[in-house]
C-alpha cells in the first residue's frame, strides 16, 4: 500500500544517495536503483495503474513530481562531479609558465643609432620638402675642393686632413670625400633649381682621438631658389633642431665664420645646459657649437652653371654621429664603429621603432 508518508521517506533516501555518490559511477548506480526499470521510484510509478481514479488524482502528480525531482538532483550532481573531475585533471596539468620563452628577433635585433638618426633626419626634412641625395665616397679633387671654391694650394684645404688614393699616371689623385658637400655640387649639376636636398653619408678625415674618427657621418642640406636667404636658413635650422631634439623650442646663436663654399659663413651655437653626463638642448645658460652654415658662395653657384644674380642658396652641415651622441647620450664617438654587440644592444633601436613625425620621432 502506498501512502504519502512512504513517498517522502523514499524521496529522502534517494536524494541522500545522490548527494553521497562520490563519482560518476556511483551516481549511475543510484540512478539505476531509483529510476531504472526496477528502480524504487519506477516501481512506485508502476503502482499507479492499479489505483482508483481518486487515488490516482492524488498519487499521480505526487509520484511524477517525485521522479522529476530525483532526475533533477541526479543531473545537478552529475554536473558537480564532472566539474570536480575536470578541476582535478586541470590541477594535474599545471605548466610552469614562468619558464622563459625564446625571444623573437623583434626583441633582440637592433638598428644602429646612426641609421636611426638618419631616418629621423629624413622624416624631418622630407616634411619640409627635401629629397635625399647621395654621392660616391671616392671623389675627385675637383668636386671635393675646387668646385667648392677651395683654390688649389690654398691653406683652406689644410682645414681638412684628407685621405688620398694613389696618384694615377695622368697625375690625377682621387680622395675620400672630406665632407658631403660634393653631393651638393652633384645635385646642382643634376637638377634645375629650385632645389631642396639633404645629403647624408660617410665622410673621411685623417684623425683619430676621443672626438675624431677617420670615418664619420655628415648630413648637409642645400636650398637653391630665387629668394633663399639667411632668415629662411635660420628657420630651417630652428625647426630641424627643435624637432630632432624633441623640445618645445631652441635658441640659436649665429657666429661669423669661414667656409670656402659659403659667403657669408656662420657657425651656429644652440642654447643648452651642460650636466656632468648629459647635455640638454633648449634650456640652460651654456652654448654648444653644433653646426656650420651659410649662403652658397657665388663662385660655387657659377661652378655649377647657376647665375648668382638670379639664384641664391643656403647650405648647412652637421655631424650625424655627433647629434646622435648628444640626443641619446653616447659618450665616445669611437664606440659607434666598434661593432660591440653589447653596445649595439644597449644603444640600438628596435626594428619597428620607425621614426615618423606623425608617430613621434622616438619612443
Amino acid at each position: 500500500m502506498t501512502d504519502l508518508d512512504s513517498l517522502s521517506t523514499l524521496e529522502a533516501d534517494v536524494l541522500a544517495a545522490v548527494s553521497a555518490a562520490a563519482d560518476e559511477a556511483a551516481l549511475e548506480a543510484v540512478r539505476v536503483s531509483a529510476l531504472g526499470k526496477k528502480g524504487s521510484v519506477s516501481e512506485k510509478l508502476k503502482t499507479l495503474g492499479g489505483m482508483t481514479p481518486d487515488e490516482r488524482k492524488t498519487f499521480g502528480p505526487a509520484l511524477n513530481a517525485l521522479r522529476d525531482r530525483v532526475a533533477a538532483a541526479l543531473s545537478e550532481r552529475k554536473t558537480v562531479l564532472a566539474d570536480a573531475a575536470l578541476d582535478a585533471r586541470l590541477a594535474a596539468e599545471r605548466l610552469d609558465v614562468s619558464l622563459p620563452v625564446r625571444e623573437s628577433g623583434l626583441e633582440t635585433g637592433r638598428i644602429h643609432p646612426v641609421s636611426q638618426v638618419t631616418d629621423e633626419l629624413i622624416a624631418i626634412f622630407s616634411a619640409m620638402g627635401f629629397s635625399v641625395a647621395e654621392g660616391p665616397d671616392i671623389e675627385t679633387d675637383d668636386l671635393n675642393f675646387t668646385k667648392l671654391n677651395f683654390p688649389v694650394g690654398h691653406p683652406a684645404r689644410e682645414m681638412h686632413d684628407t685621405f688620398f688614393l694613389p696618384a694615377k699616371e695622368n697625375g690625377e689623385r682621387l680622395l675620400l670625400r672630406t665632407h658631403t658637400s660634393p653631393v651638393q655640387i652633384r645635385a646642382m649639376q643634376a637638377k634645375e633649381p629650385p632645389i631642396r636636398v639633404i645629403c647624408p653619408g660617410r665622410t673621411y678625415r685623417f684623425d683619430m682621438d676621443q672626438t675624431h674618427t677617420p670615418m664619420f657621418h655628415q648630413v648637409e642640406g642645400l636650398v637653391i631658389d630665387r629668394d633663399a636667404n639667411l632668415g629662411q636658413l635660420k628657420w630651417v635650422l630652428e625647426e630641424f633642431l627643435k624637432t630632432f631634439f624633441e623640445v618645445p623650442s631652441v635658441e640659436l646663436r649665429f657666429r661669423p665664420s669661414f667656409f670656402p663654399f659659403t659667403e657669408p659663413s656662420m657657425e651656429v651655437d644652440v642654447r643648452c645646459r651642460k650636466l656632468p653626463n648629459e647635455i640638454r638642448i633648449g634650456e640652460g645658460d651654456d652654448w654648444l657649437e653644433i653646426l656650420g652654415c651659410g649662403m652658397v658662395h657665388p663662385n660655387v653657384l657659377r661652378n655649377c652653371g647657376l647665375d648668382p644674380d638670379v639664384w641664391t642658396g643656403f647650405a648647412w652641415g652637421i655631424g650625424i654621429d655627433r647629434i646622435a651622441m648628444l640626443k641619446y647620450g653616447m659618450p665616445d664617438l669611437r664606440d659607434l664603429f666598434g661593432a660591440d654587440a653589447r653596445w649595439l644592444s644597449h644603444y640600438g633601436f628596435r626594428p619597428l621603432d620607425f621614426p615618423t613625425l606623425a608617430g613621434g620621432l622616438s619612443q
Partner: protein, 806 residues
Amino acid sequence: MKFSLSWLKEHLSGPADLQTVTETLTRVGLEVEHVEDKAGDLAAFVVGHILEAKRHPNADKLQVCSVDVGKGAPLQVVCGAPNARQGLKVVFAAPGTVIPSSGVKLGASEIRGVASGGMLCSSRELGLGDDHDGIIELPENAPVGRPFAPLVGLDDPVIEIAVTPNRPDCLGVHGVARDLAAAEIGELREPAVQIARGGFPCPTAVRFDFGDEAPRSPFFAVRLVRGVRNSVSPEWLRRRLQSIGSKPINALVDVTNYLTFDRGRPLHVFDAAKVKGDLVVRRARAGESFLALDGKTYALDDTMCVIADDNGVQSLAGVMGGAATGCDETTTDVLIESALWDPLNIARTGRALNLNSDARHRFERGVDPAFALPGLELATQMVVDACGGEASEVASAGEVPYRDLIIDFPVAEVRRLAGLALTPAEVKAPLMRLGFRVSGQGEQLKVAVPSWRPDVEGKADIVEEVVRIIGLDRIVSTPLPAVATVGDARLSLVQRRARNVRRTLAARGLVEAVTWSFVSKPQAESFGGAKPELALANPISADLSDMRPSLLPSLIAAAQRNADRGVADVAMFEVGQTFLGDRPEDQRMAAAGVRRGTAKARGAGRHWGETALPVDAFDAKGDALAALSAIGLSAGAVQVAQGAAPDWFHPGRSAALQLGPKLVLGAFGELHPRTLQALGVSGPLVGFELILDAAPQPKAKATKARPPFGGSALQPLTRDFAFLVDRDVPAAELIRAAQAADRKLVTDVTLFDRYEGPGVPEGRVSLGLAVTLQPREKTLTDAEIEAVAEKIVAQVAKASGATLRT
C-alpha cells in the same frame, strides 16, 4: 693668434673691458678660444699687513700672526713660512678661497691648538712659480685689502683667438683692433708711420734672378742700419713677447717678431757682416741645402724661392731665415728685409719641407702689400730706438702691387642674401669703419676694398662684412615656403631598399653594426679586393689601409671580437658601401650579415625547450632570402646556384643567389675554413652578402591594384609522396617538378621529410613531399585525384630520376 689686453689697447682706444672685448671678438667672427686672466683668477687674494708675529705656543717652526686685511679687526693666522715677520705686506687668502695649485678650498682651521682664520700665500701655492721658500713679500706701499695681482704686473689678460684662413689681416693685433673698432667698442689708433730719411745708399744691392719667368716675389726691399748695439730688447717689448709665449732673443730679432704679431708683417734681419755680395732672389737649385734658424738643414728644390748671396742660400723666402747670416750680440750692421711673396709658392714650400713658421702662416694667407714699405719703416724706427745706429736708403727690386677692386654694391643685396632690409647709411657705416671706401648715392653703392682684405671679392663678401659687424642676431627667422606638392618620393630606390633590408634583418634578430669603410690589405685580399687603386696613399694605420671589397671581413672580425669578450652567439649585419674600383659606378650598396655560435634566427644560446644547435648555411640562407623579399624578390624568383658562391665560402655549403644565369645578387653559406683561419677567426660562422643595387628596377605598373584574390570555396586536399632519389640531386628540382605537374591544381609543395639511413639504399635519400591540390570549379573525383598524383610522380621521376618509395 694671441695677444694681451694691454697690447690690444695700444691699437684700440676706449674703455672696453675684457668681457666686452672677448664677447665682441666672438660676435664678429674672431672666435675666442682661450682667455688667461691671472688678475681675475686671483681676485680673491688680497694684500694683508702683518701687525704682529709671535712664536706658536706648541710648534717651533710656526708663527701666529695678527694680520690686517683691510676690513674688520685684524685676523689671527698661523703661518709656517720663515720670512713671515712683523710689518711685512703679504698675500692673504680668506677661508672659502680655492688655492690654485691644489684646487683645495680653504677652510677655517685650528693648527696645533691655535685658530687660524686664513692663509698667507707663497708663489707656488698661487701657481705663479716654484718659489716655496717663503710667502710672497709685497712692496711696503701695497694697499691693504686690495687684490694683489695688479700690483705685481699680473693684470694683463691674454686672449687667444682662432683666425680663419680668409682673414690674414687679423694675424696682427692692429687688424684685430680694426674689427673691434668697426663693432664700435672703441676707436682704432692709427698713428702715422715715420719715414726715416736714409743717410747713405744701401751698400747691399738686391735683384731678382728668375731668368725669363716672372719673379716669384712682386717686391723685395732691404735697408741697412749700421752701428747698432744688439742686446736685450726693452722691458715692454720682452714682456709683450713673453705674454704670448714667444721667447725674446735679442733686440733685432725681437723687433721682427713683434711686428709679425703686431702688424701681421713678417720681416727678416741679416747680419750684414756675414752677407757676401748682393742679395739675389731666385729659385733654389736642385741639390742645394740650407741650415735654417731652427737649427735644421733643409734640402731644397727648384720650386722653392730663396734669397742668396755669393756664399749661397741665406734665407728660405717668406718661411725662415738662415743660421749663417743670423743676428746675435756681435751684430753691428743689420740688413732689414721686407718683402712680398707668392702665397701659393710659400704654402707649397712650407708643406714640402714640413716647416711651419709665423712668417709662412701669414705669407701663405696673404699679407697687406701696401704695408710692405711702412712695415720696413716701422722696423727701422724700432731698431734705431732700441739699438741705435744709422739707417741707409731702401734698396728694392720689383714693385708693390696695387689691387684696385671696386665692387658695385646694391644695398638690396643685403636683403636678397641675408633677408635684412637696411638703409644705405646702415650699410655704409660698418664698411667704412672696416676701412672700405664707400661712395655712391641711394641704393647703389661703390665699395673700394682695402689692401689688407684679399678675401673680399664680390657682393656676397660685402654682405658678410655688413651683417657680421651689425650683428647676426638681427637675422629674423623666416619660414621656408611650403612645397607645392607633398607627394613626391624623397628617397631613391636604393635608399628605400637599404632601409627595408635594415629593418628586416633587425627583425630577424641581427644587430646592425657600422664598421670602417677600410679594411686591412690581408682582409681585402681574402675577399677578392686589394686592388692597387683602392689602397689609401696615406692610411691612418695598417689595419685600415684598403677600401673594402665586401662587408664580410669587418663583420667576421667583429664577431670574433665579440666572442673574445664573451658574446659567442652573435648575429650582426651591416648595410653599407663596398668598392670594386675607384669610379663612382664601382661603389655598391651591399647588405651582409653573419651568425656565429648558436645565434640562429629562432633564438640564440641554450634553452630549456630545445637543443642549441650551431648555426648552419640555412640560417644565412634564411637571412638572405628575407632581405631579398624585403626588396621585392620572392624566394621563388631567386635561383640558388650551388657551387657558384665566391671562394671565401665553404665550397659544398654555400651558393650564389641569382636571377638567371648572369645576374648575381649575392651569396650565402658557411665561411671557408681557410678564410676564417687567415682572419684568425673561429667558427661556427655563417654569413651572406647581397648587392642591393644589383637587383633590377621593378617594372613600372600603371596601377597599384593587386591581381584578384581568387580564393576558392572548395576544400583543398593534400597528398603526401615519398620519393627515393640520388642524394646529389637538389631537392628543389623535385619541388619544382611537382609544382609544374599541374600549375592550376597544385598550389603548394612542402618538403616535410628528408631521410637517409637504414631502409634507404646507400647513396640515396628519401624525400617526403606534401602536395596541396586546390579544386577550382567542382570537387575532384577519386579518378581525377589519382590522375594528378600519377602525373606528379611521372614529372618528378623525369626531372630528377626519383622513384616512389614503396
